[in-house]
Subunit: 115 residues, 2 copies
């Protein structure tokens, strides 16, 4: 739907139309979405979701990546709040932060919702 008072005929550009700029800082949201945008990390989330709580050492093989790399991705996911770290003794177990992922999904859907 067109906006502004200077809407001309149909299908014409309207420069001064003051686009609605919510100025809502979606940088944090974008950052979390970006973290999920990596195939490897998305795969990790999928594996965690399917297995509940998984030891980091069990991720290297299915992912086909080195231990430092897996650790790096787990760090990104954890810092984004999409995954929860649970260290037990020598091992580190990870699980999906269901609520956070759900919130993110809902925020994304909300983006496209007409205001």
């Amino acid at each position: 739907m067109t906006v502004g008072e200077n809407l001309l005929a149909d299908g014409v550009c309207m420069p001064g139309a003051e686009l609605t700029v919510p100025a809502e800082d979606l940088a944090p949201l974008a950052a979390r979405v970006k973290v999920l945008g990596d195939p490897t990390r998305m795969r990790i989330v999928q594996i965690l979701a399917a297995n509940g709580s998984v030891c980091a050492c069990d991720l290297e093989e299915p992912l086909g990546l080195s231990q430092p790399t897996v650790s790096h991705h787990l760090r990104q996911l954890t810092e984004a709040g999409l995954v929860v770290r649970d260290k037990r003794g020598t091992w580190a177990f990870f699980r999906v932060a269901d609520a956070e992922v759900a919130d993110l999904a809902s925020a994304v859907r909300g983006l496209a919702a007409r205001s």
Copy 2:
């Protein structure tokens, strides 16, 4: 189960545990999520959602970016199917592909859902 070292008491790592690997190719999904993961592109989607159909020329100012850069982001969004291009004469109008964004959001939520 030959007790081996795997699968012991509670809270212990279980290496041979055959993680559920759906092998579902989430590369395409990751790619679309990645496109949305950029703050500028997310902002574009937000603006389009709020204004319906917007001319590309009206995006440069609110975004504070050059015309080639805006064009580049619009291309990414369009190729990802998150936005629809509608060229009228000299201008190019864009609008959010509501259904696609909704699908993406729902797919993301589905990721965290325990199988």
